[in-house]
Structures are given as structure tokens and as C-alpha cells.
């Protein structure tokens, strides 16, 4: 079975390798035909990375075969065999290095993986090129004066070939990446991008004079692709560019030197696109994780607030329970019955709080109720009193008379107010005493209430005001900086808003909808 699978793998690999080698066999140099674009090493490396180093003999045999078929080097040539051996061991070393470093999944999904990949490929191919050229010189197959050019050609050719092709092969073998590739096909934007890349290639090779002078034309479309489609788009795009460049070289029958130059430019373009793609993907992943943790944080803060709410009836429940026990022991059953009545009422009160918590976790919904503005201000007073107790800050309250009730989740809005007042208290505390916090409530417009929390703290600089509500941005040395993000999310879920005003002092505006009558 094992042998069968081995042979089957080889039966796929050998023709693919030969095909790639044949396609890319352009502008050979010297007796051993060093070409400026070698995608086939990527195939050998990725294959040995994924299928194991046991396939090295197949690789060796394939290289000998390819030399014989494509480069007309007889399989009996001693130098040819040695060169194939050298290449095979070099590719195997790179494959081993990558497989070891890029654990657990070599799909280049992080900057670290990509950097390791680029470093191993660049260094590995440079060494292989040096050894290969050295071998040819020793054998007298390459003139000394072309040694440096030969090395550069070989290195650039192999490095570009691997950098361009290996990410595509790795993507094709990774299920998640394959999904990303398939998603590209379904997007209309992809076709516009392809057209733009092809247009740039046409301009570079057909319309304008020196191709390498106008190579920069390819950067904007590739940046667009990498930003919009991440690594998947970038890998496909650079492959398209590489094929285009090869065809262009063919079309213009360029000389050796501009080809190396062009390939070096392709390498630069490849690195740019790959890095950009990975950064875009890492950012997307971070945002996704953030949303998740934001929801968890909101739920956590809610849970804290609700734990307080549920503790009150629970305490009364325990007290009544103990009292009932004592009454029964004393035989005062009539009074005990009354106490049990109250126990049931407290149990219902606790159940109501728990039900609200469950609702919140199930769908993140808010329990909207008609709440008098006075009740909210009462909460502010309570929270303010605490700040006063802890840091000696004076909290003043002012409300426009005759404000209608608001339609809010009392617990959640209390949470927001607590956040705002705690923040204000912390800002004021930095002043070293004598700070004040003022809370005013008035009409924002006909249908909205506005609660303004101002403090005598240093205010918010313009720069940080823009980022204030972003999660994990915190002016404090302690804390995660989730408070304001959660608060704004809650305000917006109510159909209101939460904003910071610029100024020489701290000022936050919380807008909430009134309860609509009729």
C-alpha cells in the first residue's frame, strides 16, 4: 500500500516537474543552461515538505531525467549526476527547514511564517546557486568570468521561482486557503483586477520602451489586490505577473541582463504583495477576535451588574428563610406563612433578573423599559457618591425639569453611566485633589434625552479622541480600555449615541431616546 501511494505521488510529481521545467526553460546560460526563472524547485520543495523527505530519490531521478530531456545532458554525465545530487540535497534541506520552522501548518498565515519562509528560501537558494556554479567551474563547464553572472542568474531564478510558486502550491494544498482561492473566483472585483494587471503588463512590454523602467506600473494593482483579497489574491496575482513577465520577455526577445533585472523586480513585487497580503489577513483576524472579545466583555460587565442585582433578593431570601425557620421552631405558623409569602416574592424578583441575564446572553438583546430620568440620575448620584468616597471628588447633578421618561435597559445604561463617571473620576484624580464632576440632563431634541458628564480633568487631546472608543485604547495604565467601547455599543444599541467633546476639560455626551407616548 505504502509503495503504491509512493508511486502514485511520484506519477503526479514527475510530469508536473518536467512540464514546469520545460515551460520555464528560457534563455539558458552556458553548458548547463542556467535559466532566469525556475518554478520547478518550488514544486520539489513543497512536495518534500508535505509528503516527506523520502521522496528525495524521486526528485533526484526527475532532475536527471529533466536534464536529459530538456537540456540535452546525457544521464551518464558525471557532472550532471553530481549537479542533480547537489540540487536534490539543497531542495531537501530547504524543505526540511521550512517543514520544521513553519509548524503546525505551513500556510504562511502570519508575518513570522512569511518572514521565515522568505529567509530560508533566499539563503537556501543562494547557497545552492553558489555550490552549483562552483561545481560547474571545477568541472570546467563554466568560464571563470561568467561565474558571478551565473551565480546571480541561478540564485535570482531559483529564488523568484520558489517565492512565486511555493505560496501558490501551499495555498492549493491547504483546505482553508483553497476556500480563499475559490472565493476569489466568485468576486467581480477579481476580474477588474486581472484586467488591470494585464493592462499594466501590456503597457510594460508592448507599448513602452524599456520594460524595467516601467515595472512600477504593476505595484498599484498588486497593492489593490493584496489589500482587498489578502494573501490568496496576492499569490495568484504574482503568479499571473510572473507568467506575464516571462511571456513579455519572450515577446521582446530581451537580452540576459535586463531579464535578471526584471526578475529581481518580480522578487521585490512578490515580497511586497505577500507581506501586504499577510498583514491584511492578520488585521482581519485581529478584528474578528476583537469583536468576539468585545461581546464577551460587554457580557462580562453585564454579568457583574446583574450579579449585584441578583444578590439583593438572594440576601433577603436567606434572611426570610432563616426567620421562617425560627418562627416554625417557635410554633408561630401564621407568621411563618406570611414570611413564606415574602420568600416567594423575593424568589420572583431574583428570577426576573436571571431571565434578563439569559436574554442578554442568548441574543444580546436589551430589556427596554420606561425609566424616569430621575431614576437614572439617582443611579448617577449613587455612583458619584462612591467616587466621592473613594477619591474625594465633588459630583454635582442638574436636570431640566419636566423631562419625559426614557426607554432604556436600566441596568445597561447604569453600566454606561458608571463607566463615564469612573473615567471622569480617574481623570480628575490625576489633578491631585479639588476636582469636580458635573452631570446634567436636558433635551437633546424632541425625541432624545442628553446626559452630559463633564469633569475638570485635563480633557481629551484631539488625537486620542478619535481613537478613544476603539477597544484596547486606554489612557489608563491599568485596565483593558474596553469600557468606552462597550458603553458606546450599548448606547447605540438603544438608538442613542455616546460622544467625547474636545476641550480643555473632559466632556462626554450620552444621548438616549425618550419613551414615545401614544
Amino acid at each position: 500500500m505504502k509503495l503504491l501511494r509512493y508511486l502514485r505521488d511520484a506519477a503526479v510529481f514527475v510530469p508536473c516537474y518536467l512540464l514546469l521545467d520545460w515551460v520555464s526553460y528560457i534563455h539558458p546560460l552556458g553548458a548547463f543552461n542556467i535559466t532566469p526563472w525556475n518554478p520547478q524547485p518550488a514544486l520539489a520543495i513543497v512536495w518534500m515538505m508535505l509528503a516527506g523527505l523520502a521522496h528525495a530519490p524521486t526528485v533526484f531521478a526527475t532532475i536527471v531525467l529533466a536534464d536529459a530531456l530538456i537540456r540535452d545532458i546525457p544521464a551518464t554525465s558525471g557532472v550532471g549526476i553530481l549537479a542533480a545530487l547537489l540540487l536534490t540535497s539543497g531542495y531537501a534541506a530547504i524543505a526540511w527547514g521550512l517543514a520544521t520552522l513553519l509548524r503546525p501548518r505551513p500556510n504562511l498565515h502570519t508575518l513570522r511564517q512569511l518572514t521565515l519562509f522568505v529567509a530560508v528560501v533566499a539563503a537556501g537558494t543562494a547557497l545552492i546557486a553558489a555550490a552549483f556554479v562552483g561545481l560547474l567551474q571545477l568541472a570546467g563547464a563554466l568560464e571563470a568570468r561568467t561565474a558571478l553572472t551565473g551565480w546571480l542568474r541561478f540564485w535570482v531564478g531559483d529564488a523568484v521561482g520558489v517565492l512565486v510558486t511555493a505560496p501558490l502550491l501551499l495555498a492549493a494544498t491547504d483546505p482553508e486557503r483553497r476556500r480563499g482561492l475559490r472565493a476569489l473566483v466568485a468576486r467581480g472585483e477579481t476580474y477588474a483586477q486581472i484586467v488591470l494587471v494585464l493592462a499594466a503588463l501590456w503597457l510594460i512590454f508592448a507599448a513602452l520602451s524599456d520594460p524595467s523602467h516601467h515595472f512600477y506600473l504593476l505595484f498599484p494593482p498588486l497593492i489593490w489586490i493584496a489589500i482587498r483579497s489578502g494573501l490568496a489574491g496576492a499569490t495568484v496575482a504574482i503568479a499571473v505577473v510572473q507568467i506575464g513577465v516571462v511571456l513579455g520577455i519572450h515577446h521582446r526577445s530581451l537580452q540576459t541582463l535586463p531579464i535578471i533585472e526584471l526578475q529581481a523586480l518580480v522578487a521585490a513585487l512578490t515580497l511586497t504583495a505577500l507581506y501586504l497580503g499577510v498583514i491584511v489577513e492578520e488585521r482581519a483576524r485581529a478584528l474578528e477576535g476583537l469583536k468576539q472579545s468585545l461581546r464577551l466583555a460587554a457580557a462580562g460587565e453585564m454579568a457583574g451588574a446583574i450579579a449585584h442585582e441578583v444578590n439583593q433578593p438572594l440576601t433577603a431570601l436567606a434572611n426570610y428563610g432563616r426567620a421562617g425557620q425560627m418562627l416554625l421552631q417557635a410554633g408561630r405558623t401564621a407568621e411563618a406563612a406570611q414570611v413564606i409569602e415574602r420568600i416567594l416574592a423575593e424568589a420572583r424578583r431574583a428570577a426576573e433578573v436571571v431571565r434578563r441575564l439569559r436574554d442578554f446572553f442568548r441574543q444580546g438583546t436589551t430589556h427596554l423599559e420606561q425609566v424616569p430620568v430621575a431614576a437614572l440620575l439617582e443611579a448617577v448620584r449613587r455612583i458619584g457618591a462612591q467616587a466621592q468616597a473613594n477619591c474625594g471628588i465633588c459630583v454635582t447633578l442638574k436636570a431640566e425639569p419636566g423631562l419625559p421618561d426614557v426607554l432604556v435597559d436600566r441596568l445597561q445604561i447604569e453600566l454606561v453611566l458608571r463607566n463615564l463617571i469612573t473615567n471622569a473620576a480617574e481623570a480628575v484624580a490625576g489633578l491631585g485633589g479639588g476636582g469636580e464632576i458635573a452631570v446634567t440632563a436636558d433635551r437633546h431634541d424632541e425625541r432624545h434625552l442628553r446626559i452630559v458628564v463633564t469633569d475638570t480633568g485635563p480633557g481629551i487631546p484631539d488625537v486620542s479622541r478619535a481613537r478613544l472608543f476603539e477597544p484596547f485604547v486606554s489612557g489608563k495604565s491599568s485596565g483593558m480600555g474596553l469600557g468606552l467601547a462597550v458603553s458606546r455599543a450599548i448606547a447605540e444599541a438603544h438608538g442613542g449615541s455616546l460622544e467625547a467633546r474636545a476641550g480643555t476639560h473632559g466632556e462626554f455626551h450620552l444621548v438616549l431616546p425618550f419613551h414615545a407616548h401614544g
Partner: protein
């Protein structure tokens, strides 16, 4: 009733909590347990009625509308009362607990609590309170005895406590040593002490 134990001074549990159910249930439970209780919905209404002569302990919620439980404790101390405080809270708030203990709260109890937990705290508070009441009663008795001395006798007492002999005191006050002896005997009789050592101890205690 426990309140009768405080040698005349009734020991009362003063409950300050804004939650009506908690006030009601605490009063019921503690009442059945033999404690006298008085209930307040917030710190302000407590302070309105408060008299420094109150004895017992205060069970105050940390979070109250207006002044917090810890602030209430500070106000009560300002008014010259050392009545013990037990702070209860539904928030497991470490910072608040620290503040409460710094202000010498007897205990800091998280809601929901066991009856036994609360009773233990109240009993500790009452034990402290009894010591305090006894000490202050003793001080009051001492003061009463001191007030019975004439001004001359008080002078003699002050000098005696400093360790002066009758002769030296006589010289200082311009009277005969014999008269000093008579005054001193009367002082010891009025203060109910048997010898000079006890007299000194009394004077030191009275100074405090």
C-alpha cells in the same frame, strides 16, 4: 433580650440599607434572634436621628443613595461616637473593603450572607461595645468622684501624684504639713483609694 445586658445601655442593631426587602428581612430575622433593631433607608436619615449616646452596632450597606456606608461611618466618628460598624455589600469590592477596614469596620460581609456570619459579626461588635460602655461608665464614675474634691484637695492631689512629700507640698502651698496630710486623707477617702499607689493609678486613668 440582649439589649438588657449592656448594664443599662441598650444594645441596638441599626440597619442602614436602601433595599426595602433586605431591611424588612433583616429586622425580622434579627428580631427573632433576640436583637433590637432600628431601620434606616439611607445614611442621611440615620444621621438626622443619630445621637452619640447610641450603643450597639451599625449594619450599613456599602452602596447607598447619597452617602455610602463607609462615609456614614466617617460622619459618625466625626460626631464623637465609636459605635462599631459592619459593612455589607453585594459587590465583592476589594477596594471598598480596604477602605472600610481602614476606617475600623468590625467586619465586611458580602451579600448574600449566612445568618450565622452576620450574628458572629454583630456579637463581636456587641462585645466591643460592652467593653467600650463599661470603660466609659468607669470614666464617668471617676469623673464624678473627682468632681467631689475641693480645689485645695485637687492641688494636693496633683502634687502628690507628681511624687512630692507632704513637707514639700506644704511649702509650695504655704500651709502646714499636717494640713496637707489631712487633705490627702480626705482625697483618698473621696476617691475610694487605699494607698498612694492606687491614688497615682487613678490620677493617670483620669487624665486619659
Amino acid at each position: 433580650m440582649r439589649m438588657a445586658e449592656g448594664r443599662g445601655a441598650p444594645l441596638v442593631v441599626y440597619v442602614v440599607d436602601d433595599d426595602a426587602s433586605i431591611r424588612d428581612s433583616l429586622a425580622l430575622m434579627l428580631g427573632l434572634g433576640g436583637y433590637a433593631t432600628r431601620l434606616f433607608a439611607d445614611a442621611e436619615s440615620f444621621l438626622e436621628r443619630f445621637e452619640p449616646a447610641w450603643t450597639g452596632c451599625v449594619v450599613a450597606d456599602l452602596r447607598l443613595p447619597g452617602l455610602s456606608g463607609v462615609e456614614l461611618q466617617a460622619r459618625v466618628r466625626e460626631r464623637g461616637s465609636a459605635i462599631p460598624f459592619i459593612v455589607i455589600t453585594a459587590h465583592g469590592d476589594v477596594a471598598a473593603a480596604r477602605t472600610a477596614f481602614r476606617a475600623q469596620a468590625v467586619d465586611f460581609i458580602e451579600k448574600p450572607f449566612d445568618e450565622s456570619q452576620l450574628r458572629a459579626a454583630i456579637d463581636t461588635a456587641f462585645a466591643l461595645e460592652r467593653q467600650r460602655v463599661e470603660a466609659s461608665e468607669m470614666r464617668r464614675a471617676d469623673a464624678a468622684r473627682l468632681s467631689r474634691l475641693t480645689s485645695r484637695e485637687r492641688e494636693v492631689l496633683e502634687h502628690s501624684v507628681k511624687g512630692l512629700h507632704a513637707k514639700e507640698i506644704a511649702q509650695l502651698l504655704g500651709i502646714s504639713p499636717r494640713t496637707v496630710e489631712v487633705h490627702r486623707a480626705r482625697v483618698m477617702e473621696k476617691l475610694e483609694v487605699r494607698n498612694i499607689a492606687e491614688l497615682v493609678r487613678f490620677a493617670v486613668a483620669a487624665e486619659r
